[in-house]
Amino acid sequence: MEELQGRWHDLDRLLLRPGNLVGPGFEPCAELRDLLQNDCKVLVIGAGGLGCELLKDLALSGFGNIDVIDMDTIDVSNLNRQFLFRIHDVGKPKAQVAADRIMQRVKGVMVTAHFCRIEEKDVDFYRQFQIIMLGLDSLEARSYINSVVCSFLEYEPDGGLDYSTIKPMVDGGTEGFKGHARVILPGVTPCFQCTLWLFPPQITFPLCTLAETPRSPAHCIEYVHLIQWGQDRVGEKFDSDSPEHMKWIFEQAVKRATQFCISGVTYSLTQGVVKNIIPAIASTNAIVSAVCALEALKIATMCSKGMDNYMMYVGTQGVYTHTVSYEKDPNCIMCSPGVPIEVDCSCTLQECIDTLLNDQRFKAKLSRPSVSFQGTNLYMQAPPILEELTRPNLRLSLLSLMGGNPSGGVLNINDKKLHGVLRVRVSFSKEMDTT
């Protein structure tokens, strides 16, 4: 491969020299660049405004193996900021076009495109990457990836986290002139679920206001979206990704707005209200992406200490950033290790519940526990219909109910006396010979 003179000059200044700000264990060496270019596999989720920036930044920072996943196709309205796309690309998959264009412009980098939903990939797909970068505008998608990555966590028999099961994530997010970049080391720093409160709840208007007394263009759009669609297009499922559906909502909203003497319904406002998106600013994407790519470089090489753990950026008046070290939720339903208990491998579900009830650690917190494992309700105390269906499980062996995995797993315990879900990490004791 022919390389531009001085191509890696700046990167080498970071990787080949010692310094005061380097991370622990950093040893300057040429192998680090080799590692970035050949061994480290990075996944970029989302090839939109932030994704385009991330792909460019990562490729130019020396990452040589990048995968990108996105389910969207290019819309003409993307072209102002999603700079990897051209007018003749409209209608093509974002992931594919972005991958091709990066490979054209940055020699030696391999970008693999995945034109699909994130849920379509299996767990092993996500496991193969060393770092996952998120350039998403949806909390739902973040939450999904979070649950996948947290499910990778494993613990040593002594309860310590197995560090080799940590899949680092770097998340970027932008909304207008505001943005954030954060580093998530699941099990060590807070995951999305730990800090869900950081994300504002979606704005919802009362249905009766929408129906009776609309006062704003958004009210008119939401009325058509939530109520009129069901009346006029009976049986049709609304799809926010369908341009025809969106155009219909827009046209009907304009009619309704005229009726109530409201002005200001536009197509882009319609998209914004229905999809709950705020207009994107190219410079915000660029700044947030640069921070994210730098954090990925630090994770991969230890060339500097990593961010701890959340940076917010406000660009409305100058350039303001502030970095906060948020704390993990010790009882997080996604990333907490769970309270360890050991039971005999012949133990039934009923015996396991009795063990929990007699355990000093839970005694004051449990009265009538319901137990579930992954997606399966093993025993439900209520309602009666579920209690009846799950009662036969009480006599069955816990090991078999937990999929026969001798290394155990995490049970979710619900009880009226508990504030949230209690996670209990079950391990099965070996055969009799140990006693």
Binding site: C29, C40, D308, N377
Partner: protein, 214 residues
């Protein structure tokens, strides 16, 4: 295999100095070591032939609704059904049979859809039974404040069920979705009562036919 000697040196140095390294940097360090042994790992994976069925991922909403359902305290006028089996709690049906008020004797079915981000987001509730009611339109949209603008994560499925039961005991003509029904309730409550009886007996009200519910 690219495990390099500088790194081993680094390991020793880092271990010697471990107390001065905070948790985050320590973790990142372990991640880097893992990166260096990527090639070996890939070899192992190729040999073992990974794959297998994908593990079903539970969303936060699923976990929380498990708690809500396991603590349901249903009145005798209310029942619950799980059309997709005992392990799919993300969609279920609540049936309410009011034993007093305008709607006494009727049977009303509501479908609940729990979003993956529940309780960060409210459940989606629709009335599956066509009903003449000021706060429920003929398509089954329900105007209940805690389903939309006043939803809070501390609320639960139980709170919504109470809210729905209350709608049948005390329909609110000031917050209408069914404009005509609200007007009648406001101006001529006795006429409203007669209309409700007629509708739940399977008759026509205001040009709309309603199913027989009693």
């Amino acid at each position: 295999m690219v495990l390099v000697s500088p790194l081993l040196l680094a390991c020793i140095r880092a271990f010697l100095d471990w107390t001065q390294v905070d948790l985050i940097q320590r973790t990142t360090f372990f991640i880097m070591i893992k990166l260096f042994s990527v090639k070996q790992k890939q070899k192992e994976a190729a040999e073992s032939g990974s794959g297998g069925p994908p593990i079903k991922k539970q969303s936060p909403g699923e976990l929380r609704v498990q708690k809500d359902i396991s603590e349901l305290n249903l009145a005798k006028t209310t029942s619950i059904a799980f059309p997709h089996g005992k392990d799919n709690l993300l969609s279920f049906e609540i049936t309410i049979q009011p034993d007093e008020g305008y709607y006494q004797g009727g049977t009303f079915v509501f479908s609940f859809q729990i979003p993956n981000l529940y309780p960060h987001e409210a459940p989606k509730v629709k009335c599956r039974t066509k009903v003449y009611h000021p706060n429920i339109d003929l398509d089954g949209n329900v105007c209940l404040n805690i389903l939309r603008e006043d939803w809070k994560p501390v609320l639960s499925i139980n709170s919504i069920i109470y809210g729905l039961q209350y709608l049948f005991l005390d329909p609110n003509p000031d917050d209408p979705l069914n404009h005509e029904a609200a007007q009648v309730l406001r101006d001529h409550p006795w006429q409203f009562e007669a209309n409700v009886r007629k509708s739940i007996s399977g008759g026509y009200v205001g040009g709309h036919h309603f199913p027989r519910l009693i």
